[in-house]
Symmetry: C2
């Protein structure tokens, strides 16, 4: 496959593939979810399983042209928890490939996803968030983790984040993803405990744990993605200022990047939860229809990640 | 005074004030430092005390038009530490208002600044970094702390950061600075220890500790500066999405903001060290002449901060 470098190419790749991923949309009553789902249906990469009150959406103009690719699943009760459980059950029964949150509280949906007996997180699996930004003026996509879920990752959680990101990059056609372990300082030092674990992750990558991939750090956000800054600072890194993935030390740094890049650079951003048996889309309040649409496409590409 | 909303207005304010601040430039042999100093001399707000080898700079084209506002201070030896000590001594003796690093290692200069007997940090004072960004398309300047010095601020260090930032805002003519305490979540929770201390800082601000000022948090980067996002998320904050200052929870978040905003938004950024008896400018490797020039101007405005 070709290497996908833009959101437009991501969508074109999915449309050309001709594979409709089955999306369990939980209480997707709000306008931005309906618009996003409508675009995914039009793009030819979605088959929609609406879980909730069908009457609230059945005649929506964004959906009516695609009736043959939409099913309506009625939960056992009107309670949001019942819709969440029904959507999760679709995934567990192999009837849905992607889970998406609509007008339902994040807590209620996550409780169903994380349910030990009937949820979507295998024992020992690490639940984390992976996002991708299309930054105006940059030639390629920039993946980053974790801006939303794990507050302070342990070394093993960070290793899982690296693994998920690399697998996703491969689904985007990158043969040798470059993963920068972000830190304010490029020096390994006891003063900054994260940096000690970074060296170990770089060693594991070199030993082949994630196949062909470059993992290096500590590097700051700028020296990760700006070859000129890397040279000016005299830093020697195999990432060469061309990172595909930024792995943030904690949620504060990750969330700062996410909010800064969306608001101050006008970047489009898509995100999914990883670690679950299928990609889960958990939009924030205030995400636009475009954000949700790109997240759907991101999750659909993620379905092909080994 | 008028409220300074751009770097251009900052420089115009200094030029109009007609006060030349005395700047101890330590080993300022590099081209970007010389260009920055030359612009500050031309702007009429600098009197330069060159500490180091005068012969390396005396005939530089950026300086020759301003000979009457330049003095050359020869340290006791050629060692960088001697230049650092001589520059610090100028400040201690009341002969310099601002200290600036040139082509000398940060460690050597900081060692002189932090020297317990002969340095510039009063006992009990908190050394921290304060920066200001001019983000393209935004109508006012955005101050932020700390992206460079304190790794993980204690509550008292954070209170000092808030105080320094508010004083600097007043020197920029803001009557009621709005200070956002940054966090990934807007909820106060034991899961995130920073948020517990934020509520206490907001109380202290309300009690008048820093005069007229609004301090609120936790808020994320976006809801701090985007009124639309604040409303969409249904958050009630007296900052109203119009923060003048972002106080980051730790250096990882602060540094991520700094690097993202300089590289991906094309913002101009100026920065100084606070807590010392005079503003200290400690440029990073790779800072441009413009970065250093704006930092000089920022420090010069900071000299008026009560």
């Amino acid at each position: 496959m070709n290497y996908i470098q833009t959101f437009e190419a991501m969508v074109a790749h999915l449309s050309a593939g001709g594979c409709r991923r089955r999306i369990a949309v939980t209480c997707g009553y709000d306008e931005s979810t309906l618009q996003a789902v409508g675009r995914a249906l039009a793009g030819g990469f979605a088959h929609v399983l609406f879980v909730g009150d069908a009457e609230r959406v059945r005649n929506h103009a964004a959906l009516t042209p695609f009736a043959e690719h939409i099913e309506y699943i009625i939960p056992e009760s009107d309670e949001p928890a019942a819709a969440a459980a029904a959507a999760v059950r679709l995934v567990r029964e192999g009837k849905a490939d992607i889970l998406m949150k609509g007008l339902i509280s994040t807590d209620v949906l996550l409780r169903a996803v994380l349910n030990k007996e009937a949820g979507l997180l295998p024992p020992g699996s690490v639940l984390t968030h992976l996002a991708v930004a299309q930054v105006p003026g940059r030639g390629k996509l920039l993946f980053f983790t974790d801006s939303a879920v794990i507050p302070y990752p342990t070394p093993e959680q960070r290793a899982a984040q690296v693994g998920y990101a690399i697998r996703m990059c491969r689904a985007f056609g990158l043969e040798e993803p470059r993963v920068a372990l972000i830190h304010c300082s490029e020096h390994v030092s006891e003063k900054f405990p994260h940096t000690l674990t970074y060296a170990e992750l770089a060693r594991r990558a070199q030993a082949g744990e994630w196949g062909r991939a470059i993992v290096d750090g500590p590097l700051d956000v700028r020296t990760s993605i700006d070859p000129v800054a890397l040279r000016t600072k005299g830093i020697d890194s195999p990432i060469e200022g061309c990172a595909d993935v930024l792995v943030f030390p904690d949620i504060e740094a990750g969330n700062t990047f996410y909010k800064t890049v969306t608001y101050l650079t006008g970047s489009d951003v898509a995100g999914v939860l990883c670690g679950t048996t299928c990609p889960v889309i958990l939009p924030s309040r205030g995400d636009s229809a475009a954000d949700k649409y790109y997240s759907l496409a991101f999750a659909a590409v993620g379905c092909s990640a080994e």
